[in-house]
Amino acid sequence: MSKTVRIAAGQGFWGDWLEAPVRQVRGGPIDYLMMDYLAEVTMSIMQKQKSRDPDHGYARDFVPLMERILPDLASQRFRVISNAGGVNPRACAEAVIGAARKLGLSAQVKVALVSGDDILPRLDELLAAGHEMRDMDTGRPLSDIRDQVVSANAYIGMAPVVEALGRGADLVITGRVTDTGLTLGPLVHEHGWGRDDWDKMAAGTIAGHIIECGAQASGGNLLKDWRKVKGLADPGFPIVEVAPDGSFVVTKHSNTGGVVSVASVSEQLVYEMGDPHNYITPDGVADFTSIRLKQAGKDRVAVSGIRGGPRTDKLKVSIAYHYGWKAVGTLVYSWPEAYDKAKAADKILRQRLKDLGLEFETILTEFVGVNATHGPLADRPTGREAEVQLRVGVRSNDKKAVERFSREIAPLVLTGPPSVTGFAGGRPAVEEIVAYWPALIDRTVVEPHVHVEVLNA
């Protein structure tokens, strides 16, 4: 039990760099390729796709990626773990098996699928049994918006991943398994850690947190000395080498771009951080104030000292619900006095919306180039700006009002302030808002439904 386990991140989100997983597999030895696809809003997008086509509802670009990697997987000794299954892990697993068959590799590849996180079919039953699933931020009970719910998935921990690996799976495809559970699972499987060894659970969780956003831990989006980060045309995605005692090294393959430094790992550690003493996952509670980082060579950061506490009796539920409609329109005004022209246009637009009697929950105006990202903290405009983009968004539960707004942008070109351009894209799209409702539910009503199935390719 003295070996370290090498887990390589292949994707940091649905839409990440497609070359990364292939390079992780071919750039040096790894034991596991971990690919995280699911963000807060991803499940609702997948649910929408599934409602249009029952064979959809997962990260479909995962399949052509696997097609490229399956020959490597068949000849080497690494395994793949991914939550690419989204709201339809079965369809995802079957598509991957189809790809293996096409390549003549079906005998060499064992695919497991993890299901049971989807509680949408049981939602009414759960509500009736007294599970209120109140919004963790606002305290509202789910019954307030029950009719608008699009998807509902519990965040599942590492347990089914461990089971799938124990049953010999080469490829584990899950639904809403936590980002960190995808990394902790293989560590529990390989090192035989006790599931109540809370320091180890925290260590594996933090290893997972560091690599779950891909290159964001290895030089991508790194603010400190950003000009000195070289080779981002070919960034090395992060790899953790985890020892049986839970200490680990963050690194990347040699001959790749980017950097693994105390700074790059620290920035990823604080990303999306809440209370650092209590990073809650289904597998335990990690204490980020216990982490010790040390540069241990070029592109190697040693991580140790991690402490954790017992898991709670709740699981987080990710619920998506129909909220309303929105549209965002933009126009570009040029020098001279670009900002003043854009401001005048905004005033005219708002007057017209008012005269039309349109009501919105919010009308938000930003001036890109002046204050869009830093608001009142930004330096005051000088009047010498080459151009300023007027960006106006509206939100309403009245679709017609939003549609009418989307027809009020273009007329400003000929009926408003001068020196305006940038309307090549046509009318702003009217988008449905599917919003996120975070809630908690008793673990005991979810976990018995979690199921691992090993499919024979």
Binding site: L223, T373, R395
Partner: protein
């Protein structure tokens, strides 16, 4: 920058000077619903104590006045870092938000605009640009 803001924090010593945090720290931010977080990390471990002392809850609240509804502050001395939760910062957040920065990705740099008084000993090790009023 309006002069009222500069006067808000007087230097603590005779040689102290107001310096923008961008010269003393790096940062990354992310989101959870309508809350943005900013992790602020000292560029040099020996600057952490200054940042811990000067980047107080009250000052961060004042810095983001009108942009957020509430602030929480946590210390991570092991990473030479502070973590701030900026509540109500994202116009509803996620898919609801109409903001360009709907997921709070660059609230990090907005915090780096803040100025804190820096004593002479640390000032000496900063680049010239850091000591200019416009920074």
């Amino acid at each position: 920058m309006p002069s009222a803001r500069k006067k808000a924090h007087r230097p603590t010593g005779p040689q102290a000077r107001q310096v923008q945090l961008r010269w003393l720290a790096h940062a990354r931010s992310g989101d959870k619903g309508d809350t943005a977080n900013v992790g602020l990390i000292a560029l040099q471990p020996e600057w952490y104590e200054l940042i811990r002392k000067e980047v107080t809850l009250a000052r961060v609240k004042a810095h983001f006045k009108g942009m957020v509804s509430g602030v929480e502050r946590f210390e991570l001395p092991n990473l030479w870092a502070l973590n701030f939760l900026l509540h109500g910062a994202l116009d509803g957040g996620g898919t609801i938000s109409l903001k360009t920065d709907a997921q709070g990705k660059v609230y990090s740099t907005a915090l780096l605009r803040m100025r804190i008084p820096v004593p002479a000993a640390i000032l000496r090790s900063l680049p010239t640009q850091a000591k200019q009023a416009k920074g």
